[in-house]
């Protein structure tokens, strides 16, 4: 991921210009900004609003509506852990407890300097192999404690 780059207004403008003429351009643009910077900076919201000729309030409303868009940079690799019904039936909540007890990682809590942040997601469409997760876009099925430990180690740059 190209994330964690410092916010750069000129780069943001370029990104916005690439897609501003698409019908309903807001989501494609916000995805690109999120991908580039790892979050949507307040200054970017104003730029999007200007480019799409909508009010800043409306642009902010769009950003805040969707779970994918963050308002602040988040440190570390991303693990999206499914906590929907199918994964519940296979013990995903035990993995949530294990992450905290064993690794001190609280789900949905971003910590500065962390190697890994874990986000709740509801369904990854891998329900026949629950519990499921996405580790920096890499699908992981039949997750168990050992697999969670391995992911934490990989995020920390330790080989496993």
């Amino acid at each position: 991921m190209a994330a964690r780059a410092a916010f750069d207004a000129d780069l943001a403008k370029n990104i916005i210009d690439r897609k501003r003429s698409l019908p309903g351009a807001a989501l494609p643009i916000l995805h690109d900004l999120q991908h580039q910077f790892g979050y949507i900076d307040d200054a970017a919201i104003a730029l999007v609003a200007e480019a799409l000729n909508i009010s800043k309030a409306e642009a902010l409303g769009v950003v805040s509506f969707y779970h994918d868009f963050c308002r602040q940079p988040v440190d570390g690799k991303q693990l999206k852990l499914c906590r929907a019904e199918s994964c519940q039936s296979m013990g995903c909540e035990e993995l949530v407890a294990h992450l905290e007890a064993r690794h001190g990682i609280k789900v949905d809590e971003a910590r500065p300097g962390a190697a890994l942040h874990v986000e709740t997601v509801y369904c990854l469409g891998n329900c026949a192999l629950s519990p499921a997760a996405l580790f920096d876009r890499e699908p992981v099925g039949r997750l168990d404690r050992a697999a969670v430990d391995a992911i934490v180690a990989r995020a920390k740059g330790q080989t496993q």
């Binding site: 989501l27 499914c82 039936s89 509801y122 369904c123 469409g125 192999l129």
Partner: protein, 518 residues
């Protein structure tokens, strides 16, 4: 000629190591100078066998699975390239009962072909539906879909052809076909499998819809939790365009149709059709009041056909084989096949395409083989997070739209999630409200406030004290949400809650001490 070896590139298969197995087979073939050609396919949907490796021999395709990278040297030792036995042998794939007992119309090619090869698609019967559609009068095309009895596979079960007829009859300078690929229900993965495993089928179905209603542009709204499906589908669109399947003259006809894939941004509510349209327009995914129907005034205010992936993907078969052949499958007013998805705590989870009318028990016991944990089945949730939980005594309910409603449930998108006896149904009821609270778009009060109030009420019931009064209030709240919500999120959240209360009341009446200790 080199031996063809098929390994899924489906994201579920990858999640248990299919890429590593593919790399190991390529490397081992090189080391041994074996003449093997690797084809990455979609998945057959027999997920407990993934990674499932298939080899083409004169007899057909034989399978090995689940294969681990460390099995690869022994597979070569056993001469698997000639289909010889190995401890992971599964025999001829099509003889595996799980597959042989299905009626695969929509998923006939998934797991068989290279998803991005249009030649492969044609060789396996692709494009015949569209070719026939292009010979027909658009109104006859619409009537054919109506006659097939096809109903919306996204969950609502509204007749697909009626939507088409409404949009076809609307006059406008621009019309759209929108595919709802925001498959957010837990326990469902058929849309994902299809977009990854047979994307041209969806493209063909959308092109047929475009011809039928006079739309020249289509959008596929894919949820961002499906990055792999989005990539594969976007590449399929490019190839379809390059081959003239999309563009100003589709397959050389006078019809224009083009497509664009759009990515959602993590909002369950965008699976609701009007909310999806708002999102496509670049707005907050808030539900629109109906009327106007999207078929009259939909995307950007233009007449829009909006259908689920599976509805659109059923259309090519209907056009190729005729409405009657399709309607011959099924029961009552549920015609054709439904790709059911068996998931959760189950031994043999996967994609099971069957004519309507099979029972829940057929799926979870005959196909599923009971729970993966080996403990008794306690509850089966059908239809995603807004579907009811069925107890053992109701497992003989047929999986058809009307029978499910009569049993105070719903079929939804065909997801079936199994729970063993460790499940706490009061917690599941609370979760249904919590999920609704998290995903509510906020537009209507019953959903926005009711969901949070509901979670609090379940908490009170669990805590004990004035139980009867609190249960009454909870039921009253459910009635308000059912009758007063603008869309299915608030309107159907009571289904899982009430089914938990009705069928598993004992879980709500635990002594406070025990409940607190958990």
């Amino acid at each position: 000629m080199s031996v063809r070896v098929f390994i899924p590139a489906d994201s579920s298969a990858i999640s248990v190591g299919a890429d590593a197995v593919a790399r190991a087979i390529v490397a081992e073939a090189q080391t041994r100078a074996a003449d093997a050609a690797i084809v990455r396919t979609g998945s057959r949907g027999l997920f407990w066998l993934e990674p499932l490796v298939e080899v083409e021999i004169p007899d057909g395709r034989v399978g090995y699975g689940p294969v681990k990278p460390q099995d690869v040297p022994s597979l070569f030792d056993a001469d698997f390239l000639n289909g010889r036995p190995h401890s992971k042998s599964l025999g001829r794939i099509e003889d595996i009962p799980y597959l042989a007992r299905q009626q695969r119309l929509v998923f006939a090619r998934c797991g068989v072909t290279d998803p991005l090869s249009l030649d492969d698609y044609r060789r396996h019967g692709g494009l015949r539906g569209l070719e026939r559609a292009l010979q027909m009068d658009p109104s006859a095309l619409v009537e054919e879909v109506i006659a097939s009895g096809l109903r919306g596979r996204g969950g609502a079960g509204f007749p697909t052809g009626i939507k088409w007829r409404t949009a076809a009859g609307a006059h406008a300078d621009q019309k759209y076909v929108v595919c709802n690929a925001d498959e957010g229900d837990s326990g469902t993965f058929a849309d994902r499998m299809l977009m990854e495993g047979d994307p041209f089928l969806l493209i063909e179905g959308m092109a047929i819809a475009g011809v039928a209603v006079g739309a020249t542009m289509g959008y596929v709204y894919i949820r961002s939790e499906y990055p792999h499906a989005f990539d594969v589908f976007s590449r399929a669109i490019e190839r379809a365009r390059a081959a003239g399947l999309l563009g100003p003259k589709i397959l050389g006809s006078d019809h224009a149709f083009d497509l664009e894939a759009r990515l959602g941004a993590g909002a369950y509510i965008c699976g609701e059709e009007t909310s999806l349209l708002e999102s496509l327009e670049g707005k907050r995914g808030q539900v629109r009041a109906k009327p106007p129907l999207p078929a009259i005034s939909g995307l950007f205010g233009k007449p829009t056909v909006i259908n689920n992936v599976l509805s659109l993907a059923s259309v090519p078969w209907i056009l190729e084989h005729g409405a009657k052949a399709y309607a011959d499958y099924g029961m009552g007013r549920s015609r054709g096949t439904q790709p059911f998805q068996l998931a959760g705590n189950v031994r043999f989870g996967g994609l099971i395409e069957l004519a309507f009318g099979a029972t829940i028990r057929d799926l979870v016991e005959d196909f599923g083989g009971g729970t993966r944990s080996g403990r008794p089945i306690r509850a089966v949730q059908v239809g995603g997070p807004l579907g009811a939980y069925f107890p053992e005594s109701l497992l003989d309910t047929p999986l058809d739209y009307e029978a499910m409603i009569a049993a105070r449930g719903m079929l939804g998108h065909g997801g079936v999630v199994v729970f063993d006896d460790a499940v706490d149904m009061a917690r599941q009821a609370r979760f249904a409200f919590e999920f609704c609270a998290k995903e509510s778009c906020g537009k209507c009060t019953p959903c926005r406030i009711g969901s949070i109030r509901g979670a609090e009420m379940v908490e009170k019931v669990i805590a004990g004290g004035e139980r009867q009064k609190n249960v009454e209030l909870l039921r009253d709240l459910c009635e308000v949400m059912t009758d007063g919500s603008l869309c299915a999120l608030g309107g159907l959240t009571p289904l899982p809650v009430l089914s938990a209360l009705d069928h598993f009341g004992e879980d709500f009446a635990k002594p406070p001490a025990r409940a607190a200790a958990e």
